[in-house]
Amino acid sequence: MTAPVVRLTGVDKTFSRGDQLVTTALADISLDIAAGEFVSLIGPSGCGKSTLLRVIGDLIEPSRGEVIVNGKPARRARLDRDYGMVFQAPVLMDWRTVEDNVKLPLEVLGWDPARRSARTREMLDLVDLGEFRGHRPYQLSGGMQQRVAIARALAFEPALLLMDEPFGALDEMTRERMNSEVLRIWERTGTTIVFVTHSIPEAVFLSTRVAVMSPRPGRITKVIGVDLPRPRNELSRESPRYFELVTEVREALRAGGGLGLDDEIVVASAERTMAEGGIG
């Protein structure tokens, strides 16, 4: 096996105010993510999964432990622009057109204008938004805005894509479509993806592995390999193996004490999907 793209060793994160310890967000996190993997971090609200993603991206400093990204310390990796990031909100700049939003990182990286334009066109074609390059963000639907954000994150060809509940604000149907879209992009670009979600079906459908986290202090209680055949499509969501894996993730969450009220609702929706799939 080649060197991992992400290597977390004994990572703790505590938040304190003054001398006083307020919360322990992450406790003893160790995880290796290989090149080309699609790893989901799943856990109840407030379990620190978004914090963990930001620790990988060097947007939050860990209190203890080692974070290696692309074979170097996380700080160095950020300064080298080794990862792209997609947030729950698209975070598009209102004052820029779709095209100029995708160009933003390329401007920061100092690419020359011709190369910027060519690359931007390529990325917008990748997410199927070529004809919307002159539009303003407010003229696009939520799903389209998030695709612009993905194009922007991948524009400078980072080895790693960090996604923080990117489809959490979308309706169920758009979310499923975006899941297929992100899989297609992942298969085409070969980018390693770390994906934070609290949706069990989403995690199972997308991932090569699902890392299940416990409530605060967040620990990785179980890592479940997803052996669903690829390429995955809508039929994958109806296969018996898919339901087994959904159940396995759910049980891991429950064992970790990670099923609060919110997550019961997610599970209920997954079970409903299962029932419908079973009939079909």
Binding site: R54, G57, L59, R78, L79, D80, R81, Y83, G84, M85, F87, A89, V91, M93, D94, W95, L104, P105, E107, V108, L109, D128, F132, H135, R136, Y138, Q139, L140, S141, G143, M144, T174, R177
Partner: protein
């Protein structure tokens, strides 16, 4: 996925309006125009019918006549006064805005500057600053127009600084994280995120500031100085019981305020066509 596309605005920003749109616009403004003309007509008729003396309320026609008669007269020359007051207000507006933006940039960049400047600015903003007008006259010389521009600048400073600081600081936290993920410098974040984010706040403040700059200049003029300025004309004509001229000067002050305001609105449309307050409605 194109089914998810929302309807686009009927007209791209900046494109010329068609005849039908002019008609729609006219229909929109018609009630306001009718009411305005109606009030002026009622005023004209009522003053005559009630036999009001000119020092209580002159007829609109008398005000217009006074405006014409004193357009360039030696004693109450309204045109040179209008120009002089406008110059004071504009210089004050520009200087006050520039100073406010510089301080706001410093306050947004350095926490220490923010902690020192903002409480002082807020406290100073609560002072009825216009009360300093007589002092400004003694500082810069009674007949020096700069004393009036200075007062205009002072009243403009606080709302602009407070608003622009807010616009620079209240940036979506994710946008800052995004820029940090690109290893962008503070300077780059300022140029590419904070300043564009602050522009709508800036224009909101500028609209208030245009009116304030005129108030600052005219009030400062009340306390003395060269005689051909709107504030002096108002004071002098009133004490000479020429209230028709006082009203003519007030009319010019109102026109100056509206012109400055509309200029700001135009500038806003040109600079931030993307903002929700400016862009055409969807659909």
């Amino acid at each position: 996925m194109s089914a998810a596309v929302q309807p686009l605005p009927g007209r791209p920003t900046g494109a010329p309006a068609t005849g039908r749109q002019w008609l729609r616009r006219l229909r929109f403004y018609l009630p306001a125009i009718v009411v305005f003309v109606g009030v002026i007509a009622l005023w004209e008729v009522a003053v005559g019918a009630l036999g009001l003396k000119v020092f209580v309320l002159p007829k609109p026609s008398a005000i217009i006549a006074a405006l014409q008669a004193n357009w360039t007269s030696d004693r109450f020359g309204l045109l040179p006064s209008f120009r002089a007051t406008m110059l004071e207000a504009l210089v004050g507006l520009a200087a006050g805005t520039l100073a406010a933006v510089i301080v706001a940039l410093a306050a947004s960049r350095w926490v220490l500057a923010r902690n020192v400047l903002l409480p002082i600015a807020i406290a100073a903003g609560a002072i009825p600053i216009i009360a300093f007008a007589p002092l400004a006259n003694t500082w810069f010389g009674l007949t020096n127009w700069f004393s009036k521009a200075f007062m205009a600048a002072v009243v403009v400073f606080f709302p602009v600084m407070a608003n622009v600081t807010r616009g620079l600081v209240q940036v979506d936290a994710s946008a800052i994280e995004l820029m940090r993920s690109y290893a962008a410098s503070e300077w780059t974040i300022l140029r590419k995120v904070r300043i564009p984010n602050a522009l709508p706040y800036f224009f909101t403040a500028l609209k208030i500031a245009t009116t304030l700059s005129l108030i600052g200049a005219i009030i400062a003029e009340y306390f003395g100085g060269q005689s051909l300025v709107l504030g002096r004309i108002m004071v002098q004509s009133a004490s000479a019981l020429r209230f028709d001229i006082t009203w003519a000067a007030i009319l010019l002050g109102a026109i100056a305020g509206i012109v400055l305001y509309l200029g700001t609105v135009l500038l806003e449309r040109l600079v931030i066509p993307w903002h929700a307050s400016v862009r055409p409605p969807d659909g």
